[in-house]
């Protein structure tokens, strides 16, 4: 067989085609990669001896050798008749049957496929090709943030009823009673879960909170508009006062207009969204900003400058009672403020004769009256007991605190009957004593030496007018004598100063004046003190009662005693609290509400609420 092999070459970038003919001779012509085969196809995908061309009955036959693959029309075949127009593919080469020319038996064209014809898949060389575009991701991030954190919550807010911006709302805050106050303070102390609130916000609104609400306002946590009334406007004092209508002024606004704090926002001191018990700033700078140099704020103030408690707080100036004045028929204690001074101990007029040292005698105190059976070991708490709230000591009451020993009983010489005398009522005492003696002489049978006939007569016998007058005269004399003893030495005079008036009353009896006790209840009324937290301390470590002989001694400690533990704010957190608010209030009782309008509105609301309650009670 003579085979005409026409090698077709295309020039790059041109349609020119060159055909080169080679004549091959043999019964079987080998096709393959091998250098020594008849039709050389230099391609690694082609086997060394890939196929053979032989003369068959139908014409030129191309047969695959040893399992090699020949592709015809895209499908693998083992054998193909290479008639004119039939194309077979081996590797990167194409063989196409052609009509044989005269000088050959068969003809076949060989061509190499162009690069474009072979599917070359270039792999991605940059991660950009396998990742989503950064631009798209950026848009996604922007849209996600805006949709989740702005649009969603804002939509929820818009859905709700917006409050009328011009309305001053007095919210339904129940007037505080002892019980409600205690329970709310309890809630603050125990740090329980926030109170449930009526208005709830959507989950994404929670993401707007810049910080946790204080426990005092926990109930408002989900009602942002309770304080943030209008968008893009700072919270107003009206919002605060709508609940806290009766918060008191800092001082007398009449004499010190600056104290109205007109240009201050409540929120300047009361910072919310920082957690804690209540939005109350405890740092003393809030106070010392002005009080460190108060004259610059208010030139005519009588208050002393105050700085850090450890170093810059003035000495305590207890308010002392110096006497009593009758002002328009009202007895008013006269007071004066004087600083504690170790060299010049403070004295005040109490009207009482009470030596602390006698009552606190280490060897014990001899009992009186019904308590005279033994010697009593007395302590401070035998008389002084703290109030239930743990702050001040309850006021001393004679009957309760002194009366067990200092019994006010009257017992005449020769009778066994004890008579109770009332405390603080000298006129009644006088009546009782006179009545007793008068009754005794009118009864008769008095065996006291020196008693007149009428008084000594047998009981039940008649009394002549003359004897009667004589006996009553004698009884009155006895009573006056007895009263003098009671008033001046035995009972009243034991503790009080008692004096007889120069004038006598219409019946000729002596009028006794017993000086009442003026016990100061609150020596430092501009501050508060709590005995409760100081329970572990001895009373005498602050109040030097064991050495006090006079009732005029003022047993209030100086500031140095407090400063032993309360070292000042600058000393750090490890010491006892030393900030101003530990002992002083900012909003001071009795100066009136910060906002009269709100105070009035609250009063109206309360009285309305009370009327409703009364009506409810009446209908029940």
């Amino acid at each position: 067989m003579r085979l005409s092999l026409i090698t077709i070459k295309r020039r790059p970038d041109s349609d020119d085609v060159s055909r080169r003919e080679t004549l091959l001779e043999g019964a079987e012509l080998r096709v393959g990669r091998g250098a020594d085969v008849d039709v050389n196809l230099p391609d690694v995908n082609v086997a060394y001896h890939h196929a053979s061309l032989t003369e068959g009955s139908e014409g030129l036959v191309l047969t695959a050798v040893g399992g090699s693959v020949i592709e015809v029309n895209g499908s693998p075949v083992e054998k193909v008749v290479m008639a004119a127009g039939v194309t077979a593919r081996i590797g990167m080469y194409e063989l196409q049957g052609e009509n044989a020319p005269d000088h050959a038996d068969r003809a076949i064209a060989l061509s190499k496929l162009d690069i474009e014809d072979v599917v070359v898949s270039e792999l991605p060389q940059q991660i950009a090709e396998s990742l989503p575009s950064r631009r798209r991701l950026s848009w996604l991030a922007v849209i996600a943030v805006i949709a989740l954190f702005v649009a969603w919550p804002l939509f929820d807010i818009m859905q709700r009823q917006a409050p009328d911006p011009n309305e001053i709302i007095v919210k339904g805050m129940t007037p505080q009673t002892e019980a409600s106050l205690a329970s709310s303070q309890q809630a603050i102390r125990t740090a329980e879960a926030p109170m449930a609130s009526a208005a709830g916000y959507s989950p994404m609104e929670a993401a707007w909170l810049s910080g946790p609400m204080s426990r005092a306002h926990a109930g408002l946590a989900e009602d942002c508009s309770a304080c943030h009334v209008r968008p893009f406007e700072m919270t107003t004092n009206e919002s605060c006062l709508s609940c806290h209508a009766e918060v008191d002024q800092h001082g007398d606004v009449g004499t010190h207009p600056i104290l109205a704090l007109d240009n201050f926002r409540c929120a300047a001191c009361h910072k919310e969204h920082v957690g804690g018990d209540a939005p109350i700033e405890r740092a003393s700078t809030v106070c010392t900003d002005c009080h460190l140099n108060l004259k610059t704020m208010s030139p005519d103030t009588t208050l002393l400058n105050v700085g850090d408690f450890g170093k810059e707080h003035p000495q305590f100036r207890p308010t002392l009672v110096t006497g009593v004045e009758n002002i328009d028929g009202v007895l008013t204690p006269l007071t004066v403020r004087a600083p504690v001074d170790a060299q010049y101990p403070l004295k005040e007029v109490s009207g009482l004769n009470f030596p602390h040292n006698v009552h606190l005698n280490e060897k014990g105190v001899r009992g009186l009256g019904r308590a005279s059976d033994k010697t009593w070991d007395m302590g401070c708490n035998s008389c002084h007991v703290a109030e239930a709230d743990g702050s001040l000591m309850r006021p001393i009451e004679m009957e309760r605190d002194c009366g067990y020993c200092h019994e006010l009983t009257f017992k005449a010489d020769n009778i066994d009957v004890l008579r109770e005398l009332p405390h603080a009522k000298p006129t009644q005492v006088s009546e009782i004593i006179h009545d007793y003696y008068s009754a005794r002489v009118l009864e008769g049978g008095v065996k006291v030496p020196g008693a007149p006939e009428g008084a000594r007569r047998r009981p039940g016998t008649k009394l002549s007018d003359e004897d009667r007058a004589q006996s009553l005269e004698w009884a009155s004399q006895q009573a006056e004598n007895e009263l003098k003893g009671i008033m001046e030495t035995r009972l009243c005079g034991d503790c009080h100063i008692a004096a007889a008036d120069v004038e006598k009353d219409a019946r000729g009896r002596t009028i006794w004046r017993v000086e009442g006790a003026l016990l100061q209840r609150h020596w430092m009324p501009k501050s508060f003190f709590e005995h409760g937290p100081h329970f572990a301390m001895d009373c005498v470590s602050c109040h030097e009662a064991t050495k006090s002989k006079e009732s005029s001694d003022v047993l209030m400690p100086g500031i140095e005693i407090c400063q032993d533990c309360h070292l000042g704010e600058q000393a750090g957190d490890t010491t006892a609290s030393s900030e101003c608010l530990a002992c002083h209030d900012f909003h001071i009782d009795d100066y009136g509400p910060m906002s009269p309008d709100h105070g009035a509105a609250m009063t109206v609301r309360r009285s309305a609420a009370e009327r409703i309650e009364i009506k409810r009670e009446a209908t029940q």
Partner: protein, 279 residues
């Protein structure tokens, strides 16, 4: 200054010094001002720090956009990059002071977190740009990637030619090398730059083992040459893969840095809006 000065050392650390001053001033302002209610973003110093932070973030983002647009002058690009890096780092202090160390599950802390992530990814970018350019030129032994690719193509032709004198098992090795020597590919392939599955490396093993069975000396010579060519190809492929992996590492952080920056700007807008909506 030589052209080799790192952008970090630009103009004798000019931007480092400026950023350090900025940080120092903000720290002093923060420490000196002790307002009622404690230090946080709602005080005057807090507003000031927030404004500085916001303006810095916007300017740095703009720099990031602008930087890509600079056509000429490496000096300028270096300067801007230096400013971008140091001012960006100073934000960690300015924004942290702005928060007053108050964090929570809210949009405000979201903005802060996004900012820190942007800075962190940028930090990785700085690390990559300091570390990998040197590694890249070391890896390519001073040649360009395209020259190596050209060499690989030449090797392919040579290998194909050599198979004409060798048995089919060598063609199998050549095909393996041709088909399975993949450079580039998917995300993980690019990033890892691994040559474990390299067809050329496998082909080297196959051709070497086959070469031992040959008896014809001419074929042995061809086989030796083929093994050498395949080895060289495997080495080039491995270097090209590593080259792409370095490029991928130098690119990958941008997929965090850029979208997170846009997310940050959006959340900053939300932060400012919300803070003043509920003032």
């Amino acid at each position: 200054m030589s052209a080799h000065t790192s952008f970090l050392a630009h103009e004798r650390f000019r931007w480092f010094k400026r950023s350090a001053w900025l940080c120092l001033i903000t720290i002093v302002a923060y420490s000196a001002y002790a307002p009622v209610g404690g230090r946080n973003g709602g005080t005057w110093v807090g507003y000031g720090l927030g404004t500085i932070g916001l303006l810095l973030i916007l300017w740095l983002s703009w720099l990031g956009v602008k930087k890509r647009g600079f056509s000429g002058g490496s000096h300028t690009i270096r300067g801007w990059t230096s400013a971008h890096v140091y001012l960006g780092l100073s934000l960690t202090i300015i924004a942290t002071l702005h928060t007053g160390f108050e964090f929570g599950w809210n949009v405000h802390t979201l903005a802060y977190t996004l900012m820190m992530l942007v800075i962190l990814s940028g930090g990785f970018g700085v690390f990559a740009y300091l570390r990998y350019p040197a590694k890249m030129s070391e890896n390519l032994i001073g040649q360009s990637a395209s020259a190596l690719k050209k060499e690989m193509q030449d090797l392919d032709i040579r290998i194909a030619r050599l198979t004409q004198r060798l048995p089919d098992s060598f063609a199998e090795a050549a095909r393996m090398s041709l088909d399975q020597t993949k450079i580039g590919g998917g995300f993980m392939a690019l990033l890892s730059g691994s040559s474990k599955k390299c067809g050329s490396a496998k082909a080297v093993a196959l051709a070497s083992s086959q070469a031992e069975t040959l008896t014809d000396s001419a074929q042995q010579t061809s086989a030796t040459e083929m093994v050498a060519s395949l080895s060289r190809k495997a080495e080039i492929a491995s270097r090209l893969r590593r080259d792409l992996s370095y490029k991928a590492i130098m690119d990958i952080w941008l997929w965090l840095h850029v979208p997170l920056t846009l997310g940050l700007i959006a959340s900053l807008g939300a932060h400012v809006f919300i803070v003043f909506y509920y003032w």
